[in-house]
Symmetry: C2
DNA sequence: GTCTATAGACTGATAGAC
DNA sequence: GTCTATCAGTCTATAGAC
């Protein structure tokens, strides 16, 4: 699944239009995107968008579904791995997200905005492939550790919020942050790479002092 | 400055239109908002919007400027207070934001989306009233404490990111979070009120273990 | 100040030539 | 498959009646 695609010489017209649409939708959002923008970005004509995808909305739905999978379902492999410990899972999750978001920095703001704009419509897409919380291996491990009093009895939802917040929010606030602090894109990415090591340490600190 | 206004019986037509515009813009964003939506929400006719505000864009600019002040400049009073300690400032900041965001939950996603959509245009507005970082009292206090080795020498930008992330991000991700966990709006607000006390403790933990 | 009616530009989508 | 030309609908903004 590509977001920032390499130039594929042998990509079909359909694929090229889809990649162009992905770029335009992700940077401007659904409402601000004109089908003419996508046509121009793809190098093809406006009529071809409807030829291949029937409507602006159907094209958007295809792209949004792929983004949701990238954003949510891709982490299922990490949190369901029976071979890794809780701390390793947290570390892998943070590392996975930061690498992915450095490549696709406007993905989270796009996804969260569009979910907010149309929560009912996207609930169905989100439900697809939904795994019951009790069946997630990470949840099982967490419960075992709290039962054995190895972990303190904190609400795991708070910890989850903290992991995702500290990992994802800087990308969401990046334009504002860069405006206020004056740091460059490169300096920002360097900070985020530092955070791959720092966030797990901070999470440990807040768990053990709870 | 009101976002969720009480019904003001003696509000002027101009104020009523502005409040209606605030509600519609904030929930749908600039591009998805039609001037007809604002007219309908205000109870007045479409023509009056242009009579009072000349254009959709000028009306939007007025509202965005007020939101930016609410979002950014309102905290200046806290971080510039010479009477409070660093830890008190952090505590007050978190408390202030959480109270404000419980009242205006879609404010951050709106502001961040629009800045992302038009960073150049909003840079001017953000610069207005900009205070040099060196002159902020919190920054001065922080430097003194690290110089005296009372605080460890961590990059304060990371700490700032963590405070804002853990405080603001849950509101940004709230629709997704509620979809995945099934918690209600009330339960979410209760979690956020808990975080008013928890986040300062966590921040302390991560500072002292650095 | 507030309304109705409408101008003028733009949008998503399609017909039809090649 | 790909294009040009165009339709029908919607948008912002304004003219003009009251």
């Amino acid at each position: 699944m590509k977001i920032q695609p390499e130039i594929e010489l042998n990509a079909t017209t359909e694929e090229k239009i889809k990649e162009a649409a992905r770029r335009v939708f992700t940077s401007k959002g659904y409402a601000a995107t004109r089908t003419r923008d996508i046509a121009e970005e793809s190098g093809y004509n406006l009529a071809l968008i409807n030829y291949y995808f029937r409507s602006k909305e159907k094209l958007f739905d295809i792209i949004m579904l792929e983004h949701l999978q990238l954003f949510i379902h891709s982490v299922m492999g990490i949190v369901n791995d029976p071979e890794t410990s809780v701390h390793e899972k947290i570390e892998l999750l943070i590392s996975h997200y930061i690498d992915m978001l450095i490549k696709n920095p406007d993905l989270p703001l796009f996804v969260l905005s569009e979910i907010n704009a149309n929560p009912v419509k996207l609930a169905a897409k989100l439900g697809f492939g939904h795994v019951e919380r009790g069946n997630i291996y990470l949840v099982k491990q967490w419960k075992e550790l709290t039962a054995a009093k190895i972990l303190p009895n904190v609400n795991p939802l708070h910890i989850l919020m903290n992991v995702l917040s500290m990992t994802i929010f800087p990308f969401v606030a990046s334009p504002l942050l860069r405006n206020r602090t004056g740091i460059s894109q490169e300096e920002f990415n360097k900070l985020m790479l530092e955070r791959k090591k720092l966030i797990p340490v901070w999470i440990n600190a807040m768990i053990t002092t709870s």
